[in-house]
């Protein structure tokens, strides 16, 4: 799993970062880590980081995810400016936060607010794997809880897209309690009659899967996304058992009854529109 992640990081560094979104780097091509075929970065970006040859789904930033899912110009961010506090004084946590903020331009591993999906207004929270592995700490917990409460008070459907390595250990017990926080918020929301749709993307693990990401009315997942409680590498280390091919993929989880549908990223918006069309 470590190899896999480091490859992703290399890849994300090669994505051009220009204000217009079109820059000199767009003529650059890269090689798909999965199928080995050359891809123009421009093509990859136009397809929201899905390989045009093998359809492999690369990580997608929260802001791109929001662009993918919401009607153009409809997203309004809420609860910006909530920042993590290093209450435990954990070695290097402050530096890690600063670095992640600088690199991603995000406050933390989440963007949240309201937006329209096919004309229907929803409350939306999206995790971003590039910010300390999308790990859940107090900010992710707080913003998820506020998004849930927003959905409840404004009577909106709730959509949460997860991408998270799991717990942000630097926050110790505060992180653990975010699982309780998001759960108490959701337990109220589901007493109402508005739907909660959770979208699991690669990877979704640990405290995120064991709290809000799985507690939904409908759980969708992207093809090939790895989803579980404990990562495969840790399981192999602790149990000395060789895990089967495809263990913990979205397809595996669907087969085991844990996920409703596997949805290709480029169909996700249409799928959500269709699903929301059936529900209040």
């Amino acid at each position: 799993m470590r190899n896999w992640l480091s490859k992703r990081r290399e890849y994300s560094r090669t994505v051009p970062e220009t204000e217009s979104g079109v820059g000199p780097m767009d003529s650059v091509f890269t090689k798909c880590e999965k199928c080995g075929e050359p891809i123009y970065e421009k093509d990859l970006r136009a397809r929201f980081n899905v390989c045009p040859h093998c359809e492999f789904h690369y990580p997608l930033s929260a802001s791109e995810r929001i662009r993918l899912l919401t009607d153009s110009g409809s997203f309004e961010e809420r609860d910006a400016g909530i920042l993590a506090d290093d209450l435990l004084g954990f070695e290097n946590y402050r530096q890690r936060l600063q670095k992640a903020r600088g690199r991603t331009g995000l406050d933390d591993a989440i963007l949240s607010g309201t937006g329209a999906v096919g004309g229907k207004r929803v409350a939306l929270a999206v995790l971003d794997f590039s910010f300390i592995g999308g790990s859940m700490g107090s900010v992710v917990g707080e913003r998820v809880a506020r998004t849930v409460e927003l959905a409840g008070s404004e009577e909106l459907p709730l959509v949460i897209v997860s991408a998270s390595g799991g717990a942000r250990m630097f926050e110790g017990v505060y992180l653990l309690m975010q699982m309780a926080k998001t759960s108490v918020a959701l337990s109220r929301y589901v007493e109402g009659s508005w739907p909660y749709i959770s979208v699991l993307t690669d990877p979704t693990f640990g405290g995120v899967t064991a709290s809000f990401a799985t507690a939904a009315d409908v759980v969708l997942a992207e093809p090939g996304a790895r989803i579980g409680f404990t990562g495969a590498r840790v399981i192999e280390q602790t149990t000395k058992e060789r895990l089967p091919e495809g263990f913990q993929t979205a397809e595996f989880q669907k087969e085991h009854g844990m996920v409703d549908r596997i949805v290709h990223r480029l169909s996700l918006k249409a799928d959500l529109e269709r699903l929301l069309g059936f529900l209040p």
């Binding site: 400016g81 920042l83 993590a84 700490g137 110790g172 653990l176 699982m179 399981i235």
Partner: protein
């Protein structure tokens, strides 16, 4: 089992035993023995009043520490065990059922670490599979249906990390417990009697009252695992335990738990009976206090309690 830092205590104990044997019925060595007994007491006091966080973790894991079974047998006048998740199987890593504690009929449950090699292995050392967490959910719902308070004794190194656990939806089962805990309109009280590790502990301790025994710990991850992930060096577990702030005193100071239940000198394993009595008294007091509370008020208070906890600040510096 003797923990490393308990060695000086054990040495005194061994010498006292040896001298007693040598002395037999004679009075000759009595002075020496009582001198050693004082030294033993002082060593115990010195060692146990300066435990590092990681030493407490070790005390919390002590195999002779009183476990779920000991509390159940001592505190419940009657215990009627119920089994199974009605989906897959019965997980012996968590046990529960109907119990009478003092004047209260309750649903009593907890992680069962077992008492000997066989029962420890059978109970998977208190690491539950999804069927265990689904059984827990059954207990929560049973309690809600009959208006019974729930008493949980937490003692787990974490939810089990394994192939079967993943295949059967470990994360889903834990999440479901948290969602159920949040909504049931009955008092839910928990005491962390040993280890309180990971979501596997939280699924059973996001409750209206949380007590912690003095040498128990609560953590998002085992210090050893944290050390190997964050410091890339499992031998730095003691540092990780320090950094994660896992002790009962840390939790009380941060407003995460309600109460620290003191342990006898030398840790719970040194005097299980006294420890169990202290926990029993705490449980009775809390049960008496909460059993008359309006169910809606309980749910509201639980919501506010867990909605509040976090380490974040808004830009104007206000801690949320």
């Amino acid at each position: 089992m003797i923990l490393d830092f308990e060695r000086p205590i054990k040495d005194f104990e061994d010498r006292i035993t040896e001298l007693r044997r040598l002395a037999g019925p004679s009075e000759e060595l009595r002075g020496e023995i009582s001198r050693l007994e004082e030294a033993l007491d002082a060593a115990r006091r010195r060692i146990y009043s300066n435990l590092t966080p990681y030493q407490r973790v070790q005390v919390a894991r002590h195999p002779e520490r009183p476990n779920f079974r000991a509390y159940r047998d001592a505190l419940a006048d009657d215990f009627y065990e119920l089994s199974g998740d009605r989906v897959f199987g019965d997980d012996p890593a968590v046990r529960g059922g109907l119990a009478r504690i003092g004047d209260h009929n309750v649903v009593l449950l907890g992680h069962d670490k077992g008492t000997d090699v066989n029962s420890r292995v059978k109970g998977n050392f208190g690491m539950a599979h999804p069927e265990g967490y689904r059984k827990v959910k059954r207990f929560y719902e049973l309690a809600a249906r009959f208006g019974l308070p729930v008493v949980v004794l937490v003692d787990t190194p974490g939810a089990f990390a394994g192939r079967g656990a993943e295949e059967r939806g470990q994360a889903w089962a834990i999440s479901d417990d948290l969602m159920t805990l949040a909504r049931i309109p009955v008092p839910v009280i928990s005491v962390i009697i040993g280890e309180g590790c990971s979501g596997g502990a939280l699924a059973m301790c996001a409750t209206d009252y949380v007590g912690m025994l003095e040498n128990s710990y609560l953590s998002v991850i085992a210090p050893e695992a944290c050390a190997s992930i964050i410091f890339r060096d499992p031998s730095r577990a003691a540092e990780a335990a320090e950094a994660l702030k896992v002790t009962a005193a840390d939790m009380k100071g941060r407003g995460i738990i309600d109460e620290i239940i003191p342990e006898p000198l030398g840790g719970a394993h040194n005097d299980p009976q006294v420890t169990i009595e202290a926990v029993g008294q705490g449980l009775n007091r809390v049960l008496n206090g909460l059993s008359e509370t309006d169910p809606e008020k309980l749910r509201q208070a639980r919501y506010e309690r867990y909605r509040r906890i976090g380490a974040h600040a808004t830009e104007n510096g206000q801690v949320g």
